[in-house]
């Protein structure tokens, strides 16, 4: 093949070589590719325009899914967590998106006193500690909760509150959910942990048929409002089908449940305390990618964030962007990139997915006239569909462009192809540009 290339013009040959290298990269080990390039084809690689841009693509870590002419790859350091190298012994890299306003006080929250720099699992630990201290009937249980939890969310709690209140259960999600319901129905506060949201499905019968309908079917004689089921959800970089799911769509289709997803440590503590104290059963979905990587100043005080209310993270005039959980970090980055192009985005965090705050979104869309909803879960029947349907019904005559949904594809969550699957900031930036274009 390389001999044939000599007959073609130099420029085309270089492109051809690049193309071949790309194909070879899929087959060969990255290390072999690097040696190949460095030894034999240095001259060719050096003469590439912006070779550094394409080098990661050739090595195989990440390749641009856009044509090279429209290469507007973001100017960030490639995250090693997306590597699929077998010999990668490096510690998990932090999530490459910086937390918005990492140290500045958040204007949305009033001053809550002294703060500590905590990551997500530490802030959840703090909320659990507060709840167990203030509510004597509160218990925390689940698989592997006693030693601290597989994500360290419950560390040191058993030592402080005793083995009767913080304990392991046998490996059965339906048992965890059912036990939480029974405990709460006779007046206790039950905080159950499902180890991964992907494993919440054995408990779906208890959640949908029992938990959500407990108060309604008994005529308000019995209720299980003391139930809170916490579970890590969302993409983590290497999770694959069964450690990356976001099941909020299944849960939000159940009247009677409350579904909450925080976006960072600061609101996680407040939302978790609200959820535990809420008089309705709550499923609290924690984006697991943020457990270690998201670090914020979290107040030490006992504070609650109201459920059922969305939060406007930044105000804007051109387009409304709605998301929840870890997705907001990608959306924030997309908004920053869009602002460089002069587009002013209004970014809204739903926080509570059921019952969700449609009023805030409606007000915002009536102002901007454009809406983008973005989530990790598959696009068909994802929660974005609910937001889009409600907004088009309420704001049809205010819309200047069709509502865009930027979401995962209708495939099971892939492992190697995760970087292509996720609705990252590039796809969202494209959606913003598209919407601005259509509105003209």
């Amino acid at each position: 093949r390389l001999v044939v290339c000599n007959a073609i013009t130099k420029r085309r040959r270089h492109c051809l070589v690049a193309h071949l290298m790309l194909n070879l990269a899929n087959v060969l080990n990255a290390k072999m590719m690097a040696t190949l390039l460095s030894r034999r084809y240095k001259s060719i690689t050096l003469s590439f325009h912006n070779y550094q841009q394409h080098l990661p693509a050739i090595i195989g870590a990440r390749s641009s899914y856009y044509s090279s002419s429209a290469a507007a790859t973001p100017h960030y350091q490639e995250a090693a967590y997306n590597n699929n190298r077998d010999d990668d012994q490096s510690p998990p890299q932090p999530f490459p998106y910086e937390s918005y306003n990492p140290t500045n006080p958040d204007p949305n929250y009033p001053s809550l006193g002294p703060t500590s720099k905590l990551n997500l699992f530490q802030s959840i630990n703090s909320a659990l500690h507060t709840s167990l201290s203030t509510d004597p009937t509160a218990i925390l249980f689940g698989e592997d909760v006693a030693f601290g939890g597989v994500f360290r969310t419950s560390q040191n709690l058993r030592e402080e509150f005793g083995s009767q209140r913080v304990f392991n259960t046998p490996l059965s999600e339906n048992g965890i959910a059912g036990m939480a319901i029974g405990y709460a129905s006779v007046g206790g506060t039950a905080i159950g942990e499902i180890q991964f949201a992907d494993y919440i499905f054995p408990a779906i019968d208890q959640i949908v048929n029992e938990m959500a309908k407990f108060r309604y079917r008994s005529g308000n004689q019995w209720s299980c409002g003391g139930v809170t089921l916490r579970t890590p959800c969302g993409a983590v970089g290497h999770g694959g089908l069964y450690h990356s799911q976001s099941p909020e769509a299944y849960l939000c289709h159940t009247p009677g449940l409350v579904v909450v997803m925080p976006r960072g440590p600061r609101c996680a503590k407040g939302l978790l305390l609200s959820s535990i104290r809420c008089k309705d059963p709550v499923i609290f979905l924690e984006p697991k990618i943020l457990y270690r990587s998201a670090v914020e100043e979290v107040p030490d005080a006992d504070y609650e964030i109201p459920l059922g209310k969305a939060e406007i993270m930044q105000k804007g005039t051109d387009v409304t962007i709605v998301g929840w959980g870890a997705q907001l970090r990608r959306l924030q980055l997309a908004c920053d990139l869009a602002s460089k192009e002069g587009i002013s985005c209004e970014l809204i965090d739903l926080r509570t997915l059921l019952p969700w705050d449609s009023e805030t979104i409606i007000r915002s869309v009536k102002k901007t006239g454009k809406l983008i909803v973005s989530h990790e879960a598959p696009i068909t029947c994802g929660f974005g569909a609910e937001v889009a349907a409600t907004l088009q019904q309420e704001c049809f005559f205010h819309l200047e462009a069709p509502i865009q949904r930027v979401a995962g594809y209708d495939t099971p969550f892939p492992l190697v192809a995760e970087k292509y699957y996720l609705p990252d900031e590039t796809k969202n930036l494209d959606a913003i540009r598209k919407v601005m274009e259509l509105a003209k």
Binding site: S172, G182, V186, A190, Q206, R217, G219, G308, P355, S358
Partner: protein, 565 residues
């Protein structure tokens, strides 16, 4: 609540206390010997003397006559008044041959399955770690199909009625008599709540202030159990027919399982929370749910505690500690574990409060669900004080037990989970009561779950949507009704002691039937619940989207009033 609705001539089921009344009354019901003695002169037969002496030892307030005459005994030095009832002395004599029957006593039991289970008179809750029964687990039974209690050697039983003359409805006397006669069951009789009169009158027993006996009867737990079994049977029959007439949409009967309800409910305390499946309305009835409340739920009117949201028979009552029934099978089993865990922590933190357990009922079909297995594992591992009560009634809709499991029923799973367990005869109200009482005690003492499998037979269809003749022989059902029926067994037992006869039973059945009919008519006449009950209680406060939807619906109804009127 006054249930006396008929002016029915009261049968003289009580023993007359004076010689005068004995001779004049023509409707005395008692054992043949006493009647014969009454016919002869009072002084001639020893039996009559002893009989008289026996009654002379009665407290005076129990010596009233049927016609309201008070017969106050004057202390006489001529007639010696022993301190103990004569029965104690009498039994020390050797039994006569005619008092002992050699009627065949069954050694094995098989209600619906082809497995024959050995019957035992020894109640042993098999603890985890103990030797489990080798082979088929035995069935604990106290009272046979003939209403007689079993002897330990299971060979023959004694016709007690010939030895202990029928008496006034004195529970304690009956209890002591049984204790003497069947020392093998002494512990069970003495600790049985069925033989303990209530401190206050039961509100749902017929109240007739003129009758002193009735004043005693209203505190009579055993008679209440009998009456409620009949009441449940009548309610089932009438409401099942009401469904057939289109007056309610759905119903499930409890034919054949009444002994489980009354036997177990009487062994529980009011603070014990019940998680039921759907065929346990008798528990609620025992706790005090009235016929009106049952009918309100079935007719879904505005007085339904569930506010008309669920199908009929999905009862629930917070005040009586009975969790609302839900249709998915087995989900209540894991929930019961959670409730029991709460009670466990409460008992640890608050010693003054009365200890409580949670008890969960399920059929042998629901014991195949995931929740059953998770719950057993959780309960045994976490050590929650609770009772798993399995009603093995032979069928899960049309699925017989042969298609449900291959092992030895449900109870054989208990040791596998590390749980104590016992198998009882579910048609014997005394055995069920004894087992539940003992299991409750054990659960509280050891803070551990106990499983009880009650073998019984589902005589009725699964529900009104089922015709069981399509999958089982009606002869089998008829045999269950004629031979092993729990109400029949209780009835025979009471007749042995002269507490019941045909007239009395007919009276009770008639009273209960009329009471059910009245309750049903009253419930049917009531209006339905208001429209806003559809949108309330989804959450503790109505959220904005539900307010919006309710407004939409109201506007829609206003616009199309003709269609929906």
């Amino acid at each position: 609540m006054m249930l006396r609705v008929l002016n029915y001539p009261k049968p003289a089921i009580r023993r007359c206390s004076s010689k005068k009344m004995r001779t004049s009354s023509s409707t005395i019901v008692c054992s043949s010997e006493a009647a014969a003695a009454a016919a002869t002169t009072a002084s001639s037969s020893i039996a009559a003397k002893q009989h008289h002496r026996q009654f002379s030892s009665l407290p005076h307030h129990l010596a009233r006559q049927n016609n309201g005459m008070v017969n106050i005994f004057v202390k006489s030095t001529k007639v010696p008044r022993p301190t103990l009832p004569k029965t104690f002395n009498r039994l020390k004599k050797p039994l006569k041959e005619e008092d002992v029957t050699t009627q065949h006593v069954p050694s094995h039991l098989s209600y619906a399955s082809n497995k024959r289970m050995p019957i035992t008179s020894e109640m042993r809750i098999v603890q985890p770690g103990e030797d489990t029964p080798s082979g088929i687990w035995p069935v604990f039974r106290m009272m046979d199909e003939s209403g007689n209690f079993r002897q330990p050697d299971n060979s023959r039983h004694i016709n007690v009625s010939k030895i202990i003359p029928p008496n006034h409805h004195d529970l304690l006397q009956l209890q002591s008599a049984l204790t003497i006669q069947y020392p093998h069951f002494k512990h069970h009789f003495l600790s049985s709540g069925l033989f303990q009169p209530s401190k206050n009158p039961y509100p749902d027993m017929p109240l007739n202030k003129e009758e002193a006996e009735a004043a005693d009867d209203v505190k009579n737990t055993l008679l209440r159990a009998h009456r409620q079994m009949i009441r449940l049977r009548k309610m089932d029959t009438i409401l099942h027919n009401a469904q057939r007439q289109g007056r309610i949409s759905f119903y499930m009967t409890h034919h054949g399982e009444e002994a489980i309800h009354m036997g177990s409910a009487s062994a529980l305390s009011p603070q014990d929370v019940i998680f039921a499946q759907y065929r346990e309305a008798g528990l609620l009835m025992w706790r005090g749910f009235t016929l009106e409340q049952f009918c309100n739920q079935c007719f879904s009117n505005d007085h339904d505690l569930g506010k008309g949201r669920q199908m009929p028979i999905h009862y629930g009552c917070r005040a009586l500690n009975y969790q609302t029934v839900s249709s998915p099978l087995g989900t209540q089993i894991t929930q019961a574990v959670g409730a029991a865990y709460k009670f466990k922590l409460d008992a640890m933190n608050n010693k003054e409060k009365e200890a409580a357990i949670s008890i969960v009922y399920f059929g042998e079909g629901a014991a195949s669900t995931i929740d059953f297995h998770s719950a057993c594992n959780f309960a045994a591992t976490l050590g929650t004080p609770m009772i798993f009560f399995c009603r093995n009634n032979g069928y899960a809709i049309s699925t017989p037990v042969e298609d449900q499991y291959a092992g030895d029923g449900i109870i054989s799973r208990a040791p596998g989970y590390g749980m104590a367990g016992i198998r009882v005869d579910g048609n014997d109200v005394f055995a069920v009561h004894a087992a539940v009482a003992e299991a409750r005690k054990l659960a509280l003492e050891t803070s551990a779950p106990v499983m009880i499998e009650a073998m019984t037979y589902r005589q009725g269809h699964h529900s009104t949507s089922d015709d069981s003749s399509r999958y089982r022989d009606m002869d089998e059902v008829q045999a269950a009704h004629d031979v092993t029926d729990p109400i029949l067994r209780m009835d025979k037992f009471l007749r042995h002691y002269g507490w019941m006869d045909d007239d009395a039973v007919a009276l009770i059945e008639d009273e209960e039937r009329v009471a059910v009919l009245r309750a049903m008519e009253a419930a049917e006449a009531r209006p339905g619940p208001k429209l806003d009950t559809m949108f309330t209680d989804v959450y503790h406060e109505k959220p904005p989207h539900l307010l919006r939807q309710e407004t939409e619906l109201r506007q829609h109804l206003k616009r199309h009033d003709i269609v929906y009127h």
